[in-house]
């Protein structure tokens, strides 16, 4: 099946302009609220309630990958692909208890880098920053490429134009409104995503009922309904462990912890994770419908948009367009804001200019937002065919941080050298598994090795950490 634009360029541009103006106007308006200091800009005044906190977690975790990759998984590997992608919600849910502990231990904390530096020292911080830098750039690239691919497949926009529009919009409202704008727009975006996905799913299954899909798959692709499919088994736990690595280490989620009220932080992560799980189930099932209909795609990551447009006509294309536009901007704004916080706090303030004023710190964060957007554009300029190849590569790295982070929060005897060796050895073994076995199992091997190193190192050479050291003044 040849991918052709299903949405008239005029309608697509109208949607882009409408939502771009809305996001930017709201972002600028919300950014004017509050005290205007660095904490306000970076962490929305540390006073976010349950509804906003849950919505921002869900919206940030619904990425371009969720709407483009989950259907690809369903299409290529069947039920296991779909369900294993949904297991990525475990990352948010399992982080909930850790979030509560972080909130208690670090009342003045700003970033995940703060924690690693105070808990394990400068060298561990350096290793951690390298891992998070590679992951963040990979994540930004997949979102940027997803933006270009989506707008091109749906409306015939030039790949680069689509990418520039989405990154530009997210950058503008993040730049002017900071974390408050990010969280506010995330709330609207999460509601949009949930409602529109429900509409797409209901309309799709009314035209092509589940029993018919099942009957066709039994005849043509019975292996895709087999829960013991080898390729499916390989990715089953990888998604769960990969997502834990992403959430446990990345400042997107740590910044939400610091921004939320202590009383709501744990509940919001559980609710956000559960709400998120419904999204890959819905989009993944669309991939199964495509398979049942015997459709073939020149680029498998276009399964969802092309299917929706094919099944539901112009309305379906417009709905998917809005869903993915909201998904991409809500993730990109979070990435830009939280990574800017990390660079401004950990590198500019803690490393380069400890004497910097509050206003200078805020300015550094704003400059970094722009710089990151430019770097993302440059790195994403050459288009890759499958977003999965970029994504799974970073899984080998981030999964190695799961045990060092969790042990560092709960175990006073967690050894700092063990944490360093765990992150390095886990990353190396994960990358070897990525190359030699399959990209799908990189996170499994990475977590396994880092867990082993962390446990053995901390039991054999226990340390005595004073938790009060984490109460570092801002």
């Amino acid at each position: 099946m040849k991918a052709e634009p299903f949405l008239a360029p005029g309608l697509a541009w109208a949607l882009v302009v409408l939502f771009s103006v809305l996001w930017i106007a709201l972002g600028v308006a919300w950014g004017r609220r509050g005290k205007g200091d660095a904490d306000e800009y970076m962490l929305a005044g540390r006073n976010i309630g349950l509804a906003l906190s849950t919505a921002t977690l869900m919206a940030s975790w619904v990425t371009g990958n969720t709407t483009l990759l989950a259907p690809e998984f369903g299409y290529k590997t069947g039920l296991w692909g779909m369900f294993s992608y949904a297991l990525a919600g475990l990352g948010l849910i399992l982080f909930a208890p850790l979030a509560l502990r972080i909130k208690q231990l670090m009342p003045h904390g700003r970033t995940s880098g703060d924690f690693i530096r105070l808990r394990y020292g400068r060298f561990a911080w350096l290793v951690f920053m390298v891992i998070t830098a590679i992951y963040t750039l990979g994540f930004l690239m997949t979102q940027a490429m997803g933006a270009g691919i989506l707008l091109q497949s749906l409306s015939g926009f030039d790949y680069h134009v689509g990418m520039i529009v989405v990154i530009g919009v997210a950058m503008l409202y993040t730049l002017y409104g900071g974390m408050r704008a990010v969280i506010g727009t995330d709330f609207i975006q999460s509601v949009l995503i949930m409602v529109l996905l429900a509409i797409v799913a209901v309309l799709a299954f009314r035209q092509f009922p589940a029993p018919a899909v099942h009957a066709r798959l039994i005849n043509s692709h019975a292996d895709h309904l087999n829960l013991l499919l080898p390729a499916g088994l390989l990715i089953a736990w990888n998604s769960a462990l990969f997502s834990m690595g992403e959430v446990f280490h990345n400042n997107i989620w740590w910044s939400r912890v610091f921004a939320s009220r202590r009383s709501v932080v744990m509940t919001s992560f559980v609710l956000g994770g559960l709400a998120w799980m419904s999204v890959p189930i819905v989009t993944g099932s669309i991939g199964l419908v495509a398979l049942a209909r015997g459709l073939e795609f020149p680029q498998v990551n276009m399964v969802f948009p092309v299917m929706a447009a094919d099944l539901l006509g112009v309305g379906g294309a417009a709905l998917v367009f809005v869903v993915v536009f909201a998904s991409l901007t809500s993730t990109l704004d979070s990435l830009l804001a939280s990574t800017a916080d990390l660079v401004a706090e950990d590198i500019y303030f803690r490393l380069l200019r400890p004497q910097a004023s509050d206003a200078q710190l805020k300015q550094a964060a704003r400059v970094t937002v722009v710089g990151l957007a430019v770097v993302t554009l440059l790195l994403s300029w050459p288009r890759l065919d499958s977003l999965a190849s970029v994504l799974f590569f970073t899984g080998a790295l981030v999964a190695s941080t799961v045990w060092p982070v969790a042990c560092g929060l709960y175990w006073p005897h967690a050894n700092r050298n063990a944490a360093i060796v765990a992150m390095v050895s886990g990353s190396v073994v994960g990358l070897l598994a990525y190359v030699w076995i399959a990209p799908y199992c990189a996170a499994v091997f990475s977590t396994a090795v880092s867990a082993l190193v962390m446990v053995v190192g901390s039991v054999r050479w226990p340390e005595r950490f004073q938790w009060s050291l984490l109460k570092e003044a801002p």
């Binding site: 475990l90 399992l94 208890p97 850790l98 509560l100 502990r101 208690q104 231990l105 013991l228 080898p230 390729a231 088994l233 390989l234 089953a236 736990w237 990888n238 769960a240 462990l241 834990m244 799961v402 045990w403 969790a406 042990c407 929060l409 709960y410 175990w411 006073p412 076995i437 199992c441 499994v444 091997f445 977590t447 396994a448 867990a451 004073q466 938790w467 009060s468 109460k471």
Partner: protein, 50 residues
Amino acid sequence: MLPEASRLVLDEVLWSRLIFAIGAVVTAATIALVLQGHFTWLGREPFDEG
């Protein structure tokens, strides 16, 4: 004796199940680590050195 192609498929299945088992054990251990840590500190003073 199995034909060559059948043995390869069998190896692939066994290899997949081994990775699946490792993944299940690691995931379960990680969940246990977090839950045990959470319940250990639940109700205690967060900076308790004891």
